[in-house]
Structures are given as C-alpha cells and as structure tokens.
Amino acid sequence: MDAGQDAVSIAPRSRGRRRWRLSAQAVSWLQVSPLAIILITFFALPTLIFLVVSFYDYDRVGIYPDFLLDNYREILTSPATLRVYLSSLQFAFIVWAITLFLGFNIAYFLVFHVRSRMMRTVLFLACAIPFWTSGIIRTIAWIPFLGRNGAFNQMLQGVHLIDRPLDFLLFSPFAVCVTYIHLFTLLMIGPIANSLAKIDPALLEAARDAGASRWRTMVDIVIPLSKTGIALGSILVFTQVMGDFFVVKAMSGGQSASIVSQLATEIQAMQYPPAAASAMILVLFVAIMVGGMMRVVDVRKELVR
C-alpha cells in the first residue's frame, strides 16, 4: 500500500477537494490576518505596554509595577501640557489649511488641466521626487536658507528690500510652518488627486451644459466628490503634525516644544512612566480627533465607491 492510497482511504477524492474549499468567512480571516498580525505585534501590544507602564512608579534608574495616577496627574496639571497641546493644534490647523489649499489646487490642476498623460506623470514625479530624500535632510536644508546670514536674508538685503536681516525667519513658528508645509503638502496632493481622478468628466460636462458656473461646479460637484481624499489628506497631515518631534525641535531652535519632544526629554532623563503616560494621552487625543474627522466623512464607504 503506498502513501497515495493511504491518503485516499482516509479522505476520499470527492471530499478531499471540498476540504480545501474554505468558507467565505475563513477566507476573510485569512485575508486580514497579515495586517492584523502586524498591527497587533507592532501597535496594539506596545500600546498596551505603554498603558501598563504609564501607571508604574519610577525613580532615577528603574520602573516599579504599581497602580499610580500620579503620572497622569502631573501631566494634566502641568501648564506645559496645555501650552504644548495648544501650540501643536495651532500648528496643525495652520498647516492643514495651507496644505489643503495648495494640495487641492495642485491636484485639481494635475487631474483636470494637464491633458497629456505623459506630462501628468512627469509633474506627479516632480512633486514626489523630493520625497526620495529623508525628511530630516529636507528640514535641515531650510536652516542655511532662512538663517540670519542665510541665502534668503542675503537676497533680500542684496536687492535692498531690507537693511538688517529678518530674525523671525529661522528658529521661529514661521520656520516650523514653512517646513511642515514643504514636508506635508504631498500628503494632501496624493489622496485628493486620487479622488478627483475618479470623478467622471461627463459629470462636469453635464454641469456646464446645465449652465452651472465654474464656481458652482466646484462647490456642488468637485468638492463633494473629492471629500474622501480631502479627509484622508487631512488625517495624514494632522497626525504628522501632532506626532512630530524633529521639525519643531530643529526649526524652532528648541524655543517651542512639541508633545513628542517633551516626551523625548523625559525619555532622555530615563523617566519612562511619565513618558508612557504622555504617549497614552497623545494617542487618545489624536484618536478622538481622527474619529471626529471620520464622522464628517465616512472614508470607508467612500473608498469602496
């Protein structure tokens, strides 16, 4: 008796084929499992550890299992927390508004005004190529440009627009905003261009035929149909700004802090439990904000459209 016959005797051919046909439910589970495993091991578990550690006691060198609310109390009662959240929200709002304006217009131009497919690809690449270098390099590159004796100040002085260098250009909220906008505008362009491309040009023609002005077409057709992209872009930009560490630190010259840079100072001082508590509060805060945006636009429904 060989192995093949053995198998047959255990599972007759007809049943054997059916055994491998998984139920629809099992297929779905299998499909989500790779992402689920990644999210659980690299997101859910670490977050859970942060949550646990955020209640721990600590001293200079160790953390000690405990259930203390002190870490949260210290964060929530410190004036620094409110200031840093307000300043991050302010940055997030300004950057969101400007990147949305820029991103929407650039995407609109790329999708509706650039006729040649080739040209569109080239222009998209032109937007994307700077992103092949690291964000850190693109951030630091602004420093010699905006500095007191930097290229921009020298240029302005060269054409006699100013007679002494402008100090506010670097190590200031202005510098932070410029860098954010430079870094994050593509995050708006991508999703918005994607939703714009899905709009049937026939709809626009119909609107024009029906006598709608450009503005009405924009407000009643283009914007409502691209709101998924707008929402996705907004979420990307918002979470990037709220979670930023490097840009604020480098471009404000350490003059203002971000939520994460504050957390980093705690980690450098080996104070993990308060850092974990700050991280939990940040995660919760961003989750609520993103949840709010999702309520305005049902991204899931729109994506399968």
Partner: protein, 431 residues
C-alpha cells in the same frame, strides 16, 4: 632591529612583554596556581568590549590596546541616554565602559558595575588628586558642587554597591578623562570682552545666546550666570533644592520671554552650526565643538570666565559579570588605559587624562606644552587622527591644566530632584 624605534609604542610593548612573562611564569607553575597551562593561548581569544560615548570610545585606542596587550579590545560608541540604557539593560554585552561621573549615580547599587581593587590599579597613584583626594592640583580643597569625582570614586566594598565617604580600597572605576567646560563665544561678534558667566544673560546679547537643551546642564549654566550677576546664591548649583529650582526657572522664563535665547541645541553639530553661522555669539559649548568652528576659519573662543568652569569626568569601570581570566584582562586593560597612549589621543582633542604624567611620554614636547602647559604651539599640531589642527603660535584658551582644572566651580551632575527638574525644564522650554 628588534627594538621598537617609535617612542610611543615602547611602553605598550614592554607591558605586553611583562604580561607575557607573567603568563610564562604562571604557565610554568601550572597546576599549582590553578591556572591552566593554556592561559597564554586563551588570552588571544579574549575580547574586551569597551563601551563609551563617541568622544572617548575611539577606534584607534582599541587598535593600539589590541596590539599592546595580546587580547582584543573592541570599541562601541553610543550617545549619552543610549549608553546609559545599554548599561542598565544589557550590561552583559559590555565588559568595560567609560562611565561619566553622573552616571555612577544611576549605576552604583544597580548590579551593573563591580568595584576595582585599588591595589591592582597600577595608575591609581598617578591619578590627579582632583579625583582621588578632592583637591585641586595646587592642594586646595576642590569644589564639591555637582557630582564631584572624589565623592563618587570610592566604593564601600568589593561588591561596589554603595558610595563611601572618603577613600577606600575599592574604586567604582579608574579615573580616566576630565575637562573643564565654559561658554563658547565669537570674539569677533561680541563687540566687547566676555569675562563672566553673567554675560550669558546680558541683554546686550539678546537673541544671540544659546543653551544646551539638557535639563541639568542647561540649568547649571544659567545658575552660574545668575549667581555671577549677584544677589542670588546657591547651596549647591549641581544639586538644587526645589525652591532653588523654582527660583532659577522663574528667572530663566523671564529671560526667555525677553528674547535672549536664539536657540537650544541638542547635538554637537547644531552647536557648531549656530556658532559658525553667527546666529549665536555666546552659548554653552563643548571644547571639540569650539575646535570644529575654528577649523572653518572662524574665530571662536572657549572663554575662561572668572567664576570658574563646569567640570566633567569619566572613569573606566568594569561590569559586574566579569570573572576570572576576563576580569584579569579587564584590569590589565584599565592599567593600559591610564598608561598614556589613550591620554595622548584624547589630549589632541582638548581632553585631559586623569594621569597626565603618563601622557607626557606619548606627546611630543610641543604637544605637551600646548595642550597641558598652556604655552603657544611651537609647531603645527595634529588632531587625534593626524590631521593638522593647531597652527603655530596658537594658545589654548584658559591656559594650563593646573589653571583650568584648578578652577572648577561645579561638576556636571544629576540632581536629587531630577524628576522635578525635568518637569520644570519642559515647562521652561514650552513657555
């Protein structure tokens, strides 16, 4: 031909010979001492992992040690907080380490280090009294503010679990590297002489001053300035009470609101660029950063100030897990470390060895005169890697070893109230 011709290697070679002779002796007496006769072969396979910050864990030191000692030394460099993390979480992957004096406060009693027997440390007696006796080179009692070396050098016993008042037979590490830090200035842009820490807060430099973005060092530097300005005194600037922290922070926030600070730097490069670009004319700085600005041809002075320096130091410590042969090799390496070659390498970047007289043999007279004696450079002098660094006629800022190390007002520190200080520092930065 059998004699080494180049001076600096000679003591190392002879040390190796001594060690080999010792090995031979042990091998000869074999079973009696308990050492296997294979000892001489075994040491070839021994690898000592040396961890430290990038400024002291320099590859060419490990290479020379490997050549001189007959076993392998490997350097692992990581930045401050990472290094401390590695000590605390994976100390078994490290054998010996450059431990900064404040780190001893974190590590002692944590089962990370073991004490070193004073009697076996051949360079103990050559170590400067600032470390071993708490005295300046001229014999005066040194400032104990901050984490002063004398206060943390000695261990209570072989276990090394606690500090001890005064001297003992056990050390938490052999004194290795030290220096005195001060403010860096751009003499061409300050427009007037800078002589006191108080100048850091002088409104004349509004928008052109910077601090290191590090809670303890940043606060100590401001405290030096506040005290120099007059009216406020501290019990111990390196270990403030909550009231002192509050008072200092209130002043710092006021100064920050007035626009005094252009920036707070985190990395070496940032401090160099701030100074080189002229964004900042007075700031907390490290001595290699001052040299880096100068190598760009820009005037930069590590300005001696009348209130004194902020000192810092490293000891070479041995990790807990070392036993037997490997422990012997680690002690042998510690003895080599203080014997001059390492001190000469770091001297060329402006750091002092804790055993200066050993270093003298490894420096040319011109180098010794410039780096240690504060005399003008007689010829062009190299950096640790042999690139020309000092032009003939240049004089080291702050003068001789004795003048600089004899005027340390406060040591780098970690305060008892560091938890509170970190919170307040975060409030300061966000204000």
């Amino acid at each position: 031909m059998s004699k080494p011709t180049d001076g600096p290697q000679a003591p190392g070679r002879s040390r190796r010979t001594v060690l080999q002779a010792a090995l031979g002796a042990t091998a000869g007496s074999g079973a009696l001492t308990g050492f296997p006769t294979l000892w001489a072969q075994n040491i070839k396979d021994i690898v000592i992992q040396h961890a430290g910050p990038p400024v002291t864990a320099i590859g060419l030191i490990a290479d020379q040690a490997t050549k001189d000692l007959g076993f392998t030394v490997r350097m692992q460099a990581s930045e401050n907080a990472d290094l401390l993390n590695r000590f605390l979480s994976q100390s078994s992957a490290i054998d010996v380490a450059d431990v900064s004096l404040p780190f001893l406060k974190y590590l002692v009693g944590r089962n990370v280090l073991q004490a070193m027997p004073r009697a076996k440390l051949s360079n103990y007696d050559k170590s400067i009294p600032l470390f071993t006796k708490g005295r300046y080179p001229d014999g005066r009692v040194a400032s104990p503010q901050g984490i002063a070396p004398f206060g943390v050098l000695y261990a209570a016993d072989a276990e090394g679990k606690s500090f001890v008042n005064g001297e003992s037979e056990w050390l938490h590490g052999i004194p290795a590297v030290t220096n005195a830090d001060t403010l860096g200035i751009r003499p061409d842009l300050t427009g007037r002489p800078v002589t006191s820490w108080a100048d850091l807060l002088d409104p004349v430099f509004k928008g052109r001053a910077a601090l290191q973005d590090q809670p303890t060092i940043g606060t100590i530097d401001v405290a030096m300035a506040v005290e120099a300005r007059g009216g406020v005194t501290y019990g111990n600037k390196g270990n403030m009470t909550r009231a002192e922290i509050d008072r200092t922070m209130a002043i710092m926030m006021e100064v920050k609101r007035s626009g005094q600070f252009r920036s707070f730097w985190t990395t070496f490069d940032q401090s160099v660029n701030l100074m080189a670009s002229g964004e900042v004319v007075i700031q907390s700085m490290w001595s290699p950063a001052v040299s880096a600005v100068r190598t760009r041809g820009i005037a930069c002075t590590f300005q001696p100030l009348k209130e004194g320096y902020r000192g810092w130091g490293y000891v070479l410590s041995m990790m807990k897990h070392l036993t037997g042969l490997k422990r012997d090799c680690a002690i042998e390496y510690a003895n080599w470390y203080g014997s001059g070659f390492q001190g000469a390498v770091i001297a060329r970047q402006g750091y002092y060895s804790a055993q200066p007289e050993n270093v003298k043999k490894f420096l040319t007279p011109a180098e010794w005169d410039y780096w240690y004696d504060g005399k003008p450079a007689a010829e062009q002098l190299p950096d640790p890697f042999g690139k020309p660094a000092i032009k003939p006629g240049e004089v080291r800022d702050g003068g001789s070893f004795d003048t600089r190390m004899g005027n340390v007002a406060v040591w780098n520190s970690v305060m008892d109230e560091d938890r509170y200080l970190t919170r307040k520092w975060n409030e300061f930065i966000t204000s």
